[in-house]
């Protein structure tokens, strides 16, 4: 199939359709509106379900209902809307039904702005809703990668009976890139042993997240944890660039990782032995691989569009073995490659000590600007 120019949000929507999306529920919020708008004609055209709901709580509970039938179901939103969905997400996790969520992050907190941000990393990766659960989170850095991850997201959600989130920011949602879309997959509704559909010729199915009997709730938590541990063992995804001989490693996800690639290329051209590690599965996080990289690297530079949320995960893997540096831009400000190049140069000049606090040093530098 030929390469075509597609806007990120629309490409994601079409990729979901081609991955067998059966039902989409949404509510307008910038910068993800094009997903909703695109699917408002595409889904009915194919005889599939589409509803523009009255609010994000309604959206996520429509998703919840549809997910209980075993259908491939998705919603998309941006930061404030995702906050409103957290109750429903917790119920979906607790009921052990599959769904795909697309979060096109924007600047926050509060109403914030509509510029690209990575400020929701903690909310999305660490749970967000109440209770002990672990959603699977994939963070593509380009439209093509997002498109390629859509069928994967549905497969993971259904395999692990879990929420699978595609975590991007407004820049990936809004920009246009040449991409190749996958072939259309047929919609296949599997006969799940748990889904509701009317108890014709079988025992009835009950889907709930209430377990008043406390030991049963503990067992449920352990069942969730068991599936999560399986995902941790099998679903680590990342991309490495120029790491073979790298003495310095830049780590960034999504758009920050993509900008970092330009900076790493430029630093390589200047003769520096720098590489890039870009986590794609930010939950489960590739802790082991980061730990291995400590053995070859003199220092890490972590770059994010937040105050260092993923940094904590990197630190958990590094455990003060090597010095680290952090650089973040906040509230919707996009970093330029030049800023990262400068950070790389500073790191090489003065890698610091393993027990330096990279977030603290970065804050001091920001305030001194």
């Amino acid at each position: 199939m030929a390469r075509e120019m597609w806007k990120g949000n629309e490409a994601i929507a079409e990729a979901a359709v081609r991955a067998g999306l059966e039902a989409y529920f949404g509510y307008p919020i910038t910068p993800q509106n094009e997903v909703l708008e695109y699917l408002s004609h595409r889904m009915p055209e194919l005889g599939r379900a589409f509803v523009q709901a009255e609010s994000e709580p309604a959206v996520i509970n429509m998703v919840y209902g549809a997910a209980c039938t075993g259908a491939r179901v998705m919603t998309s939103s941006s930061s404030p809307g995702i906050s409103l969905m957290q109750e429903g997400l917790s119920y979906i996790a607790g009921t052990e039904v599959p769904m795909v969520l697309v979060n096109v992050m924007r600047g926050g907190p509060g109403l914030g702005n509509i510029a690209p941000s990575q400020g929701d990393y903690n909310q999305i990766c660490k749970g967000g809703g109440h209770g002990d659960y672990h959603p699977i989170v994939l963070a593509p850095a380009s439209i093509q990668e997002a498109v390629d991850l859509m069928p994967v997201a549905f497969e993971l959600a259904h395999k692990y009976l879990n929420i699978c989130t595609i975590l991007i920011d407004g820049s990936i949602g809004q920009m246009m890139e040449p991409i190749q879309l996958p072939e259309m997959q047929p919609v296949v509704r599997k006969e799940y042993g748990w889904a509701v559909s009317g108890a014709k010729g079988r025992e009835r199915h009950i889907l709930t997240s209430i377990y008043l009997d406390v030991p049963t709730e503990e067992k449920t938590n352990l069942r969730l944890l068991g599936r999560w541990r399986e995902a941790q063992a099998n679903e680590i995804r990342y991309k490495e660039y120029f790491l073979d001989d790298a003495e310095y490693v830049v780590i960034g996800f999504g758009t920050a990782g993509r900008i970092a690639l330009s900076a790493v290329r430029a630093a390589r051209a200047q003769g520096h032995k720098v590489g890039l590690f870009r986590p794609i599965s930010v939950n489960p996080f590739p802790y082991k691989r980061v730990e291995e990289l400590c053995k070859q690297a003199k220092s890490f530079l972590v770059v994010e569009m937040n105050t260092g949320q993923m940094l904590k995960d990197v630190q958990a893997a590094v455990r003060n073995r090597i010095p680290m540096r952090f650089y973040g831009r906040l509230g919707g400000v996009m970093p330029f490659p030049d800023e990262f190049i400068q950070e790389i140069q500073e790191m090489i000049k003065n890698p610091g000590k393993p027990d330096d606090d990279p977030a603290d040093l970065w804050y001091q530098r920001m305030m001194a600007r």
């Binding site: 039902a23 309604a58 429903g88 559909s197 010729g201 009950i206």
Partner: protein, 260 residues
């Protein structure tokens, strides 16, 4: 010699097929059990038990699925109409109903209720109006009557600071998407029979694709009201019916023309 007392000729009352053998957890005297039974009878009579999916609320009826013998899901507080929408849109040929209390439907879930009706969502809601939050211990509900004592309006609902009760059926009846909206009561046998007929009509509305249907059932919460079961029936009749008049608030012409 064994004597068969119950044989098909003299059997006038039995457990409906749509009802499980599990004893309900409701307080003695509560009308939730009556409402459940009516739903189970109607689903059995319509022969749709095996293509019906129920949506249970957060409220005393949270375990409705233990008693009504169909596929069931358990919604978040107030979100049952949205969840029912999600199911119905994916499985349009199945029968989907929610069963909700007044706190669930008319307070936290009011937006979901109104918009499901406005969309003409082909679902049925059984709405239990007992003028109180039963499950959490008898707090004021959006349907609590002026002057009525609850654990969060201990001196009686003061309309100056706590506002007025909401008449949901009247409100929803103004929406074009609503096909069938009626209010009935469960305080005596005659009214229970009328309630059952309304529940049947509501499900027929859905089966025929005629839009949103809701049956509001005035119900008792003798525990929350702090009265005996018998007193609660009289209290319902004397106080609730004047505030929430029984009647047909919206019957779309196509619903009125239904023959069953």
């Amino acid at each position: 010699m064994a004597v068969t007392i119950v044989n098909p000729q003299n059997l006038v009352y039995a457990r409906p097929k749509g009802f499980t053998d599990t004893p309900t957890h409701y307080c003695p005297g509560c009308t939730h059990g009556t409402a459940h039974r009516l739903v189970a009878e109607v689903l059995e009579e319509m022969n749709i038990l095996d293509r019906t999916i129920g949506v249970a609320p957060v409220g005393c009826a949270v375990f409705a699925y233990n008693y009504i013998d169909v596929d069931f899901v358990e919604a978040a507080h107030g979100r049952a109409p949205a969840m029912a929408t999600g199911i119905k849109r994916v499985l349009p040929d199945r029968v989907v109903f929610s069963y909700q209390g007044d706190g669930d439907l008319a307070s936290i879930g009011m937006a979901e209720t109104v918009h499901a009706a406005a969309r003409g969502e082909n679902i049925t809601i059984i709405f239990i109006n007992n003028a109180i939050y039963g499950m959490t211990g008898g707090q004021m509900a959006p349907t609590t009557l002026p002057g009525m004592k609850t654990t969060s309006s201990p001196n009686g609902r003061d309309v100056e600071t706590q506002g007025y009760p909401i008449r949901v059926s009247e409100m929803l009846a103004t929406l074009d998407g609503a096909g069938y909206i009626v209010r009935r009561s469960l305080h005596d046998p005659k009214n229970i029979r009328l309630a059952k007929k309304a529940i049947r009509t509501a499900f027929e509305t859905q089966v025929h694709g005629l839009g949103f249907s809701m049956v509001e059932l005035l119900s008792t919460c003798n525990t929350g009201w702090g009265v005996t079961p018998v007193e609660s029936l009289t209290w319902l009749e004397e106080h609730m019916i004047p505030a929430f008049p029984l009647g047909d608030y919206k019957i779309a012409p196509a619903v009125a023309a239904l023959k069953f």
